[in-house]
């Protein structure tokens, strides 16, 4: 703690206000305030200045933050890996093979290539491997985002089947998409169920449940049958931004889900968790 004895009285009294002094100094200053009118008046002025400043600076927090600033942060890509420090660099290994090693590797590759050729030869009708390992990659999300932008603007035709036919929606989409579900109730978050649509994304049917906030913002839950979701991913929520839209994805036991809404809506992950628990 700073030694205050050589500082002017106003600095010492200011430190008293902030409790940045030791007990001995505090007792000395409190005694001075109690007995000296000038010291007391100075202390009151410092306190008053604090009150005035606190009110003025706290009022600044009420000013709205520009939406573009929020979006630029949410759209920024965090680094994938921490930078490696030099001391963590792996030791250099001489990878140039000797003559014997090169010969052994050639023989091994010869037999390995022959084996693979044999396996392909005995099963010529096998389909080629898929080009994209994850069928729910960025293209699928882009399609969902494009649908959302179009449908969210519709006033009279926001949904294909209205909320009043809730039972029909459940049967229809369960049969069409191949995913059993319940209609999540998001009214506690200010979202009213409007109805549903059947979409096609990635060549497969997608169920879309559409909700509207009191401000008119549209939030949708989309789901597509997923043949083999991994158990590791089932509890993982991932948020991505597509310009004006925020999307939160997760895996269920038999489906892949995405909740989509305005990117300015801060609670999209919370809504996704609620939907995940209800659906």
């Amino acid at each position: 703690m700073e030694d205050l004895r050589n500082h002017p009285l106003d600095v010492r009294l200011s430190a008293l206000l902030d409790r940045e002094i030791d007990d001995k100094e505090r007792e000395e200053l409190e005694r001075l305030i109690a007995t000296d009118d000038d010291a007391r008046a100075l202390y009151e002025r410092l306190k008053h200045g604090s009150d005035v400043g606190r009110k003025a600076f706290n009022d600044m927090l009420k000013e709205p933050v520009p939406l573009a600033l929020v979006r630029s942060i949410r759209n920024a890509q965090p680094p994938k890996e921490p930078s490696r420090l030099a001391r963590f660099s792996p030791p250099k290994i001489d990878l140039v093979p000797t003559g014997k090693q090169a010969l052994a590797a050639s023989i091994l590759l010869f037999f390995l290539g022959g084996g693979i050729g044999y396996l392909i030869g005995i099963n010529p009708a096998a389909p080629p491997p898929p080009l994209e390992a994850d069928p729910h990659g960025s293209t699928w999300l882009d399609e969902i985002a494009a649908y959302h932008r179009v449908y969210a603007r519709q006033q009279r035709h926001l949904v294909e089947v209205p909320a009043s036919e809730a039972d029909h929606i459940v049967k229809w989409l369960t049969n069409s998409v191949g995913v059993g579900f319940k209609l999540p109730d998001l009214s506690a978050s200010g979202l009213e169920f409007q109805g549903a649509r059947l979409l096609v994304a990635g060549g497969k049917p997608v169920g879309q449940l559409i909700y509207k906030s009191m401000d008119g913002d549209i939030v949708a839950i989309c789901f597509q049958r997923d043949a083999a979701p991994s158990a590791q991913e089932s509890d993982r929520f991932e948020e991505v931004i597509r310009d004006d839209l925020g999307m939160v994805t997760w895996h269920g036991s038999q489906a892949y889900y995405v909740l989509v809404g305005p990117s300015a809506e801060a609670n999209l992950p919370g809504l996704a968790r609620q939907a995940s628990a209800d659906i």
Partner: protein, 172 residues
């Protein structure tokens, strides 16, 4: 020096900190446009360097120090004296307001008075008296000695008290 930690997504924390960051930036720049540019640059830098944030202590302290360093760089780049920030804090002229003004005008006047305070005073006041940073943390963020933090804080309080008299009326 900070050790690298597991990378974490600090974007949500940054969004939550935006109002405070803008306020602190305003105490440095005294210009809303510059403040927003500075905040944006700071956020980009913080996200890019988020693996250096060890998750201990206050995130604000790390962010504010980065913001202040970026501003110092910016001022150097511009090679101009910025506003009254180059005037010695204790020599800046006093201001007064009309207590009879309407509340919105009053708030606007208060805002402009705060903005006209020398950089060294308002940023110290915000960090210590508003946000509760210790003198040591404030000195580290602003890159100044603790003794300077203390003297600027006292000067800031006396100037603020002089702006408005205790009964809410105009300064004598």
């Amino acid at each position: 020096m900070r050790q690298p930690a597991a990378p974490q997504d600090i974007r949500r924390d940054l969004v939550g900190l935006l109002p405070k960051m803008r306020r602190f930036a305003l105490t440095l720049t005294r210009n809303a446009g510059d403040a927003d540019d500075l905040v944006q640059e700071t956020c980009e830098r913080a996200i890019a360097k988020s693996h250096l944030w060890d998750g201990k202590g206050r995130l604000e302290s790390w962010i504010y120090a980065m913001l202040r360093n970026l501003w110092v760089d910016e001022v150097r780049k511009r090679r101009v004296r910025v506003g009254s920030g180059t005037v010695d804090a204790a020599d800046h002229s006093e201001l007064s307001i009309d207590a009879a003004a309407e509340s919105s005008v009053y708030a606007q006047q208060m805002n402009s008075m705060i903005m006209s305070m020398p950089e060294g005073l308002s940023s110290v006041f915000v960090l210590v008296s508003i946000e509760g940073h210790s003198y040591k943390e404030t000195a580290d963020i602003l890159g100044i000695p603790i003794g300077t933090v203390m003297s600027r804080l006292s000067t800031a309080r006396l100037r603020l008290a002089a702006m408005v008299t205790k009964d809410g009326g105009r300064k004598a």
